[in-house]
Symmetry: C2
Subunit: 277 residues, 2 copies
């Protein structure tokens, strides 16, 4: 099921600037029992990304209508909703054209049935060679310029790891190819700052909002590879996986606790509040 | 006139990875009297970009057929041919799917009729605030992740300049929003190294090949903003504009010579060898 500007359609203009320049944004949203989880947060991030890029953001009403059409009267028990917003078609060269309506592309896809042990025992991650370039102008937003993630995900596929951790060009740990990362030191939690590269994930934002008020000590910080060898637990978050513990970091000798007690408590807290997909 | 995988068509799949992630490459080629200028160099750059990104490059035969179909039996006297190559459709997430054919998108567009004074008296350029992020993995190739150029071109449009110079995050001059840049100091020419960001333009490559053997002293170098205030001439090159002198750099007090004798000699040399569009 795909909608282009609200109309069922699987094709878009070959002149769309999303294709030409990656000139747009996207959101990947878990749908559970007919509900798009964290819908408001996703729309907010999309709107703030549009503002950063100078793209006219469609109204929430337009997205609501797309949501309603895409899910229909008999939504699947679980699904993945993807919203893409581009600057629209045309313009001579890079300069954004004036008075061109943006393109809204909405698709509903099957839920990826990940093995249940990923949620329980955790995953194997590798350290990717592909680095994240630093540019504050593009940091945080979920734009369509994702070649670094594509190259890093190729590394992960070659190594048959479950995911890969990515570092900025200056060696700071930033995120995984598709998730944000949290490190646990005793009772203290750290997550990389997303100020000059990386995506500020919606699930990361949920944790930053909820954990401190639930009594957890969580801080955004500068983190490097040696922190990965010293911490007690590592976990990844995104809107689809929710929260996955990291079991092993290939090529490092971390001393990760098994089971991971703090990760477990956080999972329970998020599940009790119905914040996980 | 547009072709998608060799078939006249103006639409592409909304699942194309070119749209989803900017997962692809492009070339913009000047067509003059039915001839695609520097066709071989453009195909070579596309192929080496595809190799870098791990995209299966179509055969030159496929591109030749597209060229023939796009230009037809009565090609315009001048036109712009754009080749886009993406990794194709699909794949779950960032990881490149296996056994998916790449997409070839070819379009022929009207020649942009720039005012003739741009070629003769030169252009006004500004210094863009938008920086280029550094990532050796993506440097040099003409990939579809072009948000930095889009943001910089918006600055240029707002200032009503003709183009804008772009700097890496570490303050080195790299290129303009859509062209490579050359600085003249006496009889000596410098152009920025393209090793960790920027596009290695086809016209830049032509100059790097031709000028030294014609007796010019040309070197790739590290260049910063103070060099712009000290040099005698600045010019820009790309496949469509050919070569434009810079008349003025907004916000700087350069001492640019008018007319620019070295730039003029280079233009004459390139024109005599039929290397300009």
């Amino acid at each position: 099921m795909m909608l282009v500007n609200g109309v069922p359609q699987t094709l878009i203009s070959a002149s769309d600037r999303g294709l030409a320049y990656g000139d747009g944004l996207f959101e990947t949203i878990a749908v559970v029992d007919g509900v798009a989880r964290h819908w408001e947060r996703h729309l907010n991030r999309l709107e703030s990304g549009a503002k950063r890029l100078g793209i006219a953001a469609p109204s929430p009403a337009a997205w609501n209508q797309d949501l309603s059409l895409a899910l229909g009267t008999k939504p699947p028990r679980r699904g993945v909703l993807k919203l893409t917003l581009t600057r629209g078609s045309g313009g001579r060269g890079y300069a954004p054209p004036e008075d061109v309506p943006p393109s809204r592309i909405v698709g509903l896809f099957p839920w990826p049935e990940w093995p249940s042990e990923r949620y329980v025992s955790g995953i194997n991650v590798m350290l990717c060679q592909t680095r994240l370039a630093q540019n504050p102008a593009l940091a945080g937003i979920k734009h369509l310029n994702r070649l670094e993630q594509v190259l890093a995900a190729s590394e992960v596929a070659r190594q048959q790891a479950d995911d890969g951790l990515m570092f900025a060009l200056d060696d700071r740990l930033i995120e995984s190819t598709r998730a944000n990362v949290f490190l646990v030191f005793g009772q203290r939690l750290l997550t990389p700052r997303i100020n000059d590269c990386g995506v500020a994930g919606v699930m990361r934002e949920v944790l930053l909002d909820c954990l401190p008020e639930a009594g957890f000590d969580l801080e955004e910080s500068t983190i490097d590879v040696t922190d990965l060898t010293r911490c007690d637990e590592v976990f990844l978050t995104n809107s689809l996986i929710g929260l996955w513990p990291v079991r092993q970091i290939l090529g490092l000798k971390p001393r990760l606790m098994r089971p991971a007690p703090v990760t477990g408590r956080i999972r329970e807290l998020l599940a009790a509040r119905r914040l996980l997909p």
